[in-house]
Symmetry: C2
Subunit: 473 residues, 2 copies
């Protein structure tokens, strides 16, 4: 595309390397370019816009952009944010599908708020297009980070890349390229090479934990009707909760839905023949099978990659003012709160605010980021893990429905002083994740007291009624 260059800020002399041109890496590039830094982005894959066919890696769960993600985009540039998000599809609630195919809608927010479905690959391309508008952002594809040390001038990072394109199956004949920068931002995902290198210089606590949950991508095509393409309600996140496993579906703007099956590894791997898959899906997801197509279900289940879900966390995130990791590189979470990307975007916003607050003195900014951000990241990782049970089981229970109604009622009474947890996390980016958990704990305790009160009242009335009956005899 032709470059429509945007106004650039007063340039700074420092150069930053950003590793990873995924969603968070692109936002970091845009944000630090906006601060005036000279930005070079390194990506080990090819430019996805050069692919002749769209790269469907069949591992994607549609993203749900919510308040934190949008805030972070807006913080860089409102016009950019609008361009990038032009094709989102708002989802205003969940649509629960029971075994008989009955659908029940549950609103997410109390004021019709929405989380917004968007395809990951599409959003990534939109962000890459934005990078091209900047003079002081350069993107290098096909280079993989092999090594990083701090042997440059003033302890600056030196990074060693290997060309990925021409590399055969052995490690011989590598073409290594070495570059020096003022600082490095690692945004290279859950298996971050930057983080791995950083661990050689920082006493970094680190953990990774796999969930006993496997996911497989399925696809619900657009309907035949030309006027109305969607086969399901387009403004809902569809869930088929079946306790230990579930199916979900998120809308795409072409009328299709990206659907994902989640289940324990043992169960999923035991469904290894056409007959078993058909039997399992017809029993549990009859209405979904009708939309996906029986052959397509079988094919997807037997041939699509079975993907794992990993939670990683670490501390600290930086080495002095020389290197910092953001997004999944610092905290990969399971997708059940729809916050992975939103949280990664928020990382960048928070980091940029601290760089400004410390007047471009990076060591103080990065140190404050590590210390203050940790509790928020720990909070959202925990919330995301716990939400699997909510989605796959709790939404099916009466108690959940009752509590949700009580929760909403309390908000109507107390206003901003009482906010349901989901609202705080998804629609109130001004509240820190760690505060969401703190407030929700207090509210949860109060709700339980209320519940006890309600049950107690019920029991008392029942007792009265029985006594009245007994007396009458």
């Amino acid at each position: 595309m032709s470059k429509i260059l945007i106004d650039e800020p007063e340039p700074r002399k420092e150069k930053v390397a950003i590793v990873g041109a995924g969603l968070v890496g692109c936002l970091a590039a845009l944000s630090f370019a906006r601060l005036g830094y000279k930005v070079t982005l390194y990506e080990y894959r090819d430019d996805p816009r050069n692919e002749t066919t769209v790269d469907r890696n069949l591992r994607s769960i549609n993203l749900a952009v919510s308040d934190r993600g949008i805030r972070a985009l807006n913080a860089v540039d409102l016009e950019m944010s609008i361009r990038v998000l032009k094709n989102i599809l708002p989802m205003r609630g969940r649509m629960i599908h029971d075994v008989d195919g009955h659908q029940t809608s549950m609103k997410y927010g109390l004021h019709n708020e929405a989380i917004n479905s968007i395809d990951r690959a599409y959003l990534n391309i939109e962000l890459l297009n934005e990078l091209d508008r900047h003079k002081n952002i350069k993107v290098n594809y096909g280079l993989k980070l092999m090594k990083m040390d701090f042997s440059g001038k003033n302890g600056n990072p030196r990074i060693y890349f290997e060309k990925t394109k021409k590399v055969a199956n052995t490690l011989e004949e590598n073409a290594i390229r070495t570059f020096e920068y003022n600082f490095v931002i690692g945004a290279d995902g859950a298996y971050s090479a930057t983080r791995f290198q950083l661990q050689k210089f920082v006493r970094m606590d680190f953990s990774q934990e796999y969930m006993d949950c496997c996911y497989i991508e399925l696809y619900i095509p657009p309907g035949a009707s030309k006027k109305y393409k969607f086969q399901l309600h387009p403004n809902r996140l569809h869930i088929w909760p079946r306790n230990k496993f579930m199916l979900i579906a998120l809308p795409n703007f072409d009328g299709s839905f990206t659907s994902t099956f989640f289940g324990p590894w043992d169960l999923t791997e035991s469904l290894d023949t056409r007959e078993k898959v058909i039997d399992f899906f017809q029993t549990n997801f009859k209405d979904a099978v009708d939309l996906i197509g029986l052959e397509q279900v079988v094919e997807a289940f037997l041939t699509h990659p079975k993907c794992s879900l990993v939670c990683t966390s670490c501390f600290p995130y930086n080495y002095k003012g020389k290197c910092i990791i953001v997004g999944d590189a610092a905290h990969s979470m399971v997708p059940f709160y729809g916050q992975g990307m939103n949280c990664g975007f928020e990382d960048v916003r928070v980091l940029v605010e601290l760089v400004k607050k410390h007047e471009y003195e990076l060591e103080s900014a990065f140190n404050e980021y590590s210390v203050t951000r940790q509790q928020d990241l720990d909070a959202i990782i925990t919330l995301a893990r716990n939400n699997y049970t909510e989605m796959s089981h709790n939404v099916n229970t009466t108690r959940y429905a009752v509590r949700k109604k009580m929760d909403a009622a309390m908000h109507l009474i107390f206003g901003d002083k009482w906010l349901p947890l989901y609202t705080m996390v998804s629609f109130r980016g001004d509240i820190r994740y760690s505060d969401c958990i703190k407030r929700s704990k207090v509210q949860g305790w109060l709700l339980s007291q209320l519940e006890l009160g309600v049950y107690g009242l019920g029991a008392w009335l029942a007792f009265k009624a029985i006594r009245a009956v007994v007396r009458d005899r």
Copy 2:
């Protein structure tokens, strides 16, 4: 040395690669050679026996070989075990040094049992000498594991090594060597390259956590007397417990002691001038300074490496019957229970027993190892971490001394049914680590009840006495 070949078992056709020729790697090589496998050991360092000067990396804490380590050595070959351990120095208890230089001895065992001090480098060389006695063990030095996959015949592991000797500061011009084996044993320490490669094929939970504790090696030379070289009691593990920090010293058979300072990072790094170090050591470790020499303390503190302590744990430890990790590669712990090497040796003994039990069907053996060994490794990692407080603080308290006496008394009454925790861990390799914790919890609770009883009785008697006095007036 000339090879004195030992009797070899019926050879098997399978070949195993062992990564790392440290203590656990050597024992694994000896053990699997004994089972008949063709063993190749890879070590990225040079042969330590070729070094013109002894490689003092100043990071060593003397080892304390105890029952589990000895059992594992004996299980391979009793004569070998005796050769290897000929220069151990038994430590039958702790010697507590208070600030005024008074020493108090506390026995470890109830029957004069000992843990045995030995220099790590020395033990490693003894084990390397043993390898040379075997026809079916080959050792390759100067090769570093770069990559591992399972692309060999029948999914066998292929491993890629880089020559470390000729490699300059860049990664260019690498000479890569590729080998295929039937299986690989990773014994390459806390920062295991084998484990890192394994994680690409196994959904491995993993965590690493740094303790806020730094250590620095010091040295107490032998005394001037020709007849009696030791400046401190040779059969004790010496401790200078000072709550948040401490000094320890373990004897060497040449009359010297390897001493180690442990303290929080902030404190240790704040002692950055000659004056501060002198003041700190004269205040806290007066008697030790007299033995080490003031100049030597200052030099060690300001120039020796400041080392960190990391706990790592992971699960599972194997990929099918193709690769397994043992020793620090699977579980690195802090040194405060003296169990790191003992536990690594036990890993090998347990693994070999399972290979025999499953009649050389490695996948079943490795799987059973992962599942059953995890709880024991988790147990000893926790015990080791908790023992820092015991060594640096509790040993100073009266309550600890009283409980230790009660603990010993209970053993005298109940015999094998009541064993102090330290005894189970260090002297009773027939009791699994996880069972040590379980039994100790029950005993601890009973001891607390007894304590309460004692205090209750005391209070009751005091009350009686006061009432009698009051009445008499």
